[in-house]
């Protein structure tokens, strides 16, 4: 274990073979005042002790609304000698003014290289019969054990952090194919555009706006420099849903089903996340603006005949991992549309 590592916030250190016994003690001590709740297993894979501590803080907040057993597993492969440490913790929150509802967190620090250790740690500490959500943080630098893939119900990644997204997606596809896994792949970078996708789709729920959707000629977006892939995934979604085909990569141009061109303009800006988007047909424009710190998109619709409308739509904080996770938990267990969207823009990543 690194000499300067302060593990206080991880809870009680325990011997790995004694985890269940020690967890039971927590509940025996708190009987009558603490209620243990769990709907999923959330396993988090990270690669530094700093991330281990940050994840603990995040899970403490996450468990306010999502009951789970959390396994936070930090793997430091380049340690001088193999070692494995574990801690147990309970995140308790007041529910209904009187009752403490608690979720368990088991943290692991696995140093050095021991084959099969990681998979064994996950298998041995799952809450039985509950789905396994696996959050892989950072690059997918190695192939996971196919047996572990087969157990995962939902794989969470965040492609915004990937250094080489094209290679990462290729590796991910290979792993999934090898394991013949049915897991749902969920990308938090895709979740970042969820509120925007909902707002845009709501605008085109209105029958008067729908004809313009079929005749879009230009889509322009302003995004923070680190959110280029977020913006591309959004464009991929539009292209996938509207059955556009990529015609040119630079400049980015798609052709719609009628053979018309749709020009895509992506502009980096200093504002966070996806701050501006305009969809324009020959006769109408639909513009959304997200001001920093606002919880809403301001929409302006300019329609033929001089009709202008203003509306607001909920936005989500694209930098806030907790709110992204929160959104993610409420979504269905499918990745079909995401994969379709990705397919449309993978060559642009």
């Amino acid at each position: 274990m690194p000499a300067n590592f302060d593990s206080t916030s991880l809870g009680e250190p325990v011997a790995i073979g004694q985890i269940n016994r020690e967890l039971k003690k927590i509940w025996d001590t708190g009987e009558g005042t603490l209620t243990r709740a769990s709907l999923i297993n959330l396993a988090v894979y990270c690669r530094s002790t700093e991330a281990l501590l940050e994840n603990t803080e995040l899970i403490s907040e996450f468990t306010r609304t999502h009951a789970c057993r959390a396994l936070v597993i930090c793997v430091v492969r380049n340690a001088p000698k193999p070692n494995a440490s574990a801690w147990i913790n309970a995140h308790c929150h007041l529910s209904g003014g009187s009752k403490h509802v608690c979720c368990e967190q088991i943290s692991f620090l696995l140093e050095g290289e021991i084959k099969g250790r990681f998979t064994n740690i996950v298998f041995a500490n799952l809450d039985s019969d509950l789905p396994l959500y696996f959050w892989w943080q950072g690059d997918i630098s190695e192939n996971l054990n196919p047996h572990l893939w087969a157990w995962i119900d939902r794989l969470l990644v965040d492609s915004i952090a990937w250094r080489d997204p094209k290679a990462q997606f290729a590796r991910l596809r290979a792993s999934l194919a090898e394991a013949k896994s049915q897991l749902a792949l969920r990308d938090l970078n895709w979740t970042r555009s969820l509120a925007l996708r909902q707002a845009i789709s709501q605008i085109f729920d209105h029958p008067e706006n729908q004809p313009h959707l079929l005749r879009l000629r230009r889509v322009s977006m302003m995004h923070a420099p680190q959110n280029r892939s977020t913006a591309l995934l959004f464009i991929g979604w539009l292209a996938g849903q509207m059955k556009w085909k990529l015609k040119s990569e630079s400049p980015i141009v798609f052709t719609d089903e009628d053979g018309g061109d749709v020009v895509i303009e992506l502009q980096p800006s200093n504002s966070p996340g996806l701050s501006r988007i305009t969809l324009a047909s020959d006769e109408a424009t639909f513009a959304l603006r997200h001001e920093p710190k606002s919880s809403f998109y301001q929409a302006t619709l300019n329609l033929p005949g001089g009709h202008n409308y203003h509306a607001i739509y909920p936005a989500c904080s694209e930098d806030n991992i907790l709110s992204l996770l929160d959104e993610e938990m409420g979504r269905a267990n499918t990745s079909e549309i995401y994969l379709r969207s990705l397919g449309k823009i993978e060559s642009l990543l």
Binding site: R64, R197, E208, F296, A299, P314, A332, I337
Partner: protein, 514 residues
Amino acid sequence: MNATTTSTANPLREGLSSRPLPQPCSVVIFGASGDLTYRKLIPALYNLAADGDLPAALTVVGFARREKTDESFRQELQDAAKKFSRSGLNDEVWKSFSQRLFYHRSEFGDAEGYKTLAQRLDKLDEERGTRGNRIFYLSVAPSEFEGILKQLAAAGLNKAKEGSWARVIVEKPFGTDLPSAEELNTVVNNVFEEKHTYRIDHYLGKETAQNIMVLRFANAIFEPLWNHRYIDHVQITASEPLGVEARGPYYESSGAMRDMVQNHLLQLLSLTAMEPPTDLSADSVRDEKVKVIRCLRPMSPEDVVRDVVRGQYIEGAIGGQEVKAYRQEDRVNPQSMTETYVAIKVSIDNWRWEGVPFYVRMGKRLPKGGTEIAVQFKSAPSVLFNKPTEPQGPNVLVIRIQPDEGISLRMQCKMPGTAVRIEPVKMDFHYGTSFGKASPEAYERLLLDAMAGDATLFARRDEVEGAWAFVDHIEHAWHQHDNPPPLAFYPSGSWGPKEADDLLARDGRTWRRL
């Protein structure tokens, strides 16, 4: 245009919403100065706006007698939303939402007021894209329905233009007996077709009421046992510590039977007892519910004496405080015979429930508040365990509707030790513990459904009339029979009259302890 058309016409919707989409419309609230508007309707619409669930083209027009401007109406509603919204009030949301609120002053009987309403709605359609779709929400006393509906028809507002729709939402009470319900329904259906009529029973909008069907039909373990072979009886309870508060005059004319049993509790009973519907469409679900209502065994006056208990609270204590008797409540007749408690043994004459009584009880001034459905299974054979000399503990599945929504299952378990001693234990699921998020208010779900044209959670005419037909037999035995059963009295803060305990004791059963 229906919701399905809207969602399929918009290819961007795929995967983003699993519910029918609300459509652009104007919601006209009659009785916009009333309590329901301020406490429930506007906070519900505001919360829907805050969650991004409302169609962008939605306007709300308050229709009432008092002199107000759009601005003063908005200001009043802002204060109400601040007080009653479950999510508080966000200035940015309110600023946008309030621009959709308008006030239309008119007497309910003034034809001119409806003509100008029609012009105003047309103008809003033009300006705000509401497409001629209208919901008329009658948040007024039933005595006002006929006048309002006739005026709506005279102004042509009940007939939608080509490609649009016009719907009416009616608040309970849907009549006070079968003839009045039929008359009321005829009045409504003379102006709006049944398929455009939405009768709100807010119990159906509650998360746990909706979960009854999921529990029964999405889990393979319950349905095979859900019949007379395995179920001994069912208890449906709604208990309230409150008295009649300021509603004395209303309660005097309704009583517990009309106020709660005819609508809320019979709705819960039909959801519990219904057959699986062929699909989840509004009419498939309601067809099955109405079949249950039709199978309720009608009660003769003699049956009522035997199988129904009516009670009224006398003085007692609630929460350590002394409380007065019903007859001493404000604007209540000192010799009142109105029931504040009712317990009924209901029989359902169909294949599934032959010989399985449903005990339904509702009471005011009871020790604890709560609504639940308890399904008690038959005892396991006593060959090995459960010998007559040992305490019996049948399995009980409890669906808690409110508060502390959830489900529990009681089962038998061996106590640790060298001897075989069996004790009941409880597996308990709490919505609040497992799902940290608050459920939307019932009105939010119901308003959204009405905008989407989904009537599943609204009572259909035949359901309402069938429930009245059943209840009327009891009411007649109480009020029009030569030899009516006596009214039983119970102290406030107790679990009801002794006669209600006797009703179950006669069958060798007891009420569940809540």
